[in-house]
Amino acid sequence: MRCGYIADGDSLFRQSIHPLSFKSKVFAWERCLNFNHNPSGSLLTSLSWQRYVPTTELVHDYGCRLAFRINEKRRAEGKTKDRNRHVYCGAYHLKGSAIRALSAADGLNEILSADVVHRAEDGEIAHADLIIVLRPGGEVNIEGTKTAILDRLWNTCHGPLKHICDCDKDITVHPSSDLITSPAGPYSDTRSYFLRLWYIVRFRICSWLWRSFWLWR
């Protein structure tokens, strides 16, 4: 059983956090999928892998922890007050195949490779890196490339899976209500009961193996 390889058919989720994915009070999908541009020439963003978040509840738990960590970090820097805290709103789903298809997409010739790689981060074993490597040389308009990548990825997303974390139930108008349905339509978990059960069992085994390895290391 391969615990680290993300197959084309595997599901991944992108968590949406307010205000990061919003412009004022309006959900901005393009901010939900923003990329960091590495000096090495690659574009990078984060996803969560269904292998380690096999249920919707675990997907949302991941998002709630993500917002919590951001708030804790900002609080330590003296930036966060309760009224302007970061709030997890929900997640969008996409397939590994959609990401890898970017390198072969018409009109995106500047992409050398597009991949999603499992890489635990901040103690989150479900964390995965979406890495897009651009062809070296030439005068690539990187900003235009980012727009094209966002457009392609957003068009393959399903969702949202909206959620209100326990710590955010005091918010009267929760920003999750502003999430919009992605172009590919709402997310529907088409896995059979037995497949879900198998995913949960596999998650438990992989989590145990991974944590054992992590602690040992």
Binding site: K23, D106, E143, K146, A148, N155
Partner: protein, 205 residues
């Protein structure tokens, strides 16, 4: 760095379907500000409000549309201005040179009576203008010295065009090529500033 126009000015104009002078009583209140545009707006500009005024051919509707258009572009200008004034760590912050370029392009778009776009950015180095047309999208990604146009459907990228700094100085040429690119042709990457492969060049009228 080129010195772009820094402001978008509003001016009431009417969009008509013909270049012939309209039969308008000079005593009408909007007559002094009337200008006539040939109906050569790019396909994306042919959104419902524009077409409506063209079909009905009534100056009053046109003037209402232009009033709405100028109001939209005023909002756009204010939004861009606000983005330059944000803290450096704010995700929506854009550089002053990007603001200048965006205002310059916005002025050209308004002159072509294109509906005001929604905007977003990838960080301080660019701002993106976006229009949705049925299920298709048009994006103009504007940085300080480049602009990239992207037309996409849910299934695929239909067109991508990169413009150099010198081409940005001629907005009518840029908008004409966007119009040409929106026509049904095989997907090609048009690189007019720096060409990687001559076979990728699409000639534009």
């Amino acid at each position: 760095m080129f010195n772009y126009f820094n402001n978008v000015y509003r001016q009431a104009i009417a969009v008509l379907a013909t270049s012939e002078a309209p039969d308008i009583d000079a005593s009408e209140s909007y007559a002094p500000t009337m200008q006539i545009h040939q109906a050569s707006v790019p396909d994306f500009a042919e959104a419902e409000p524009i077409m409506e005024s063209l079909i009905l051919g009534t100056t009053s509707l046109s003037i209402i549309w232009e009033s709405e258009l100028t109001h939209e572009y005023q909002d756009l200008g204010e939004a861009l201005s606000e983005m330059t004034e944000l803290d450096a760590e704010d995700e929506w912050k854009i550089d002053a040179h990007v603001y200048d370029a965006a205002c310059y392009v916005a002025a050209g778009l308004m002159a072509y009576s294109l509906p005001a776009p929604r905007i977003f950015n990838h960080g301080p180095k660019s701002v993106v203008f976006n229009w949705a047309h049925e299920s298709d999208n048009l994006y103009l990604t504007i940085s300080a010295d480049k602009m990239s146009a992207l037309i996409s459907s849910p299934e695929r990228i239909k067109r991508r065009i990169d413009y150099s700094l010198s081409e940005l100085m001629n907005p009518s040429l840029v908008l004409s090529s966007i119009k040409a690119a929106y026509s049904e042709k095989p997907v090609k990457l048009l690189i007019t500033g720096a060409m990687y492969d001559p076979s990728e060049l699409v000639l534009v009228d």
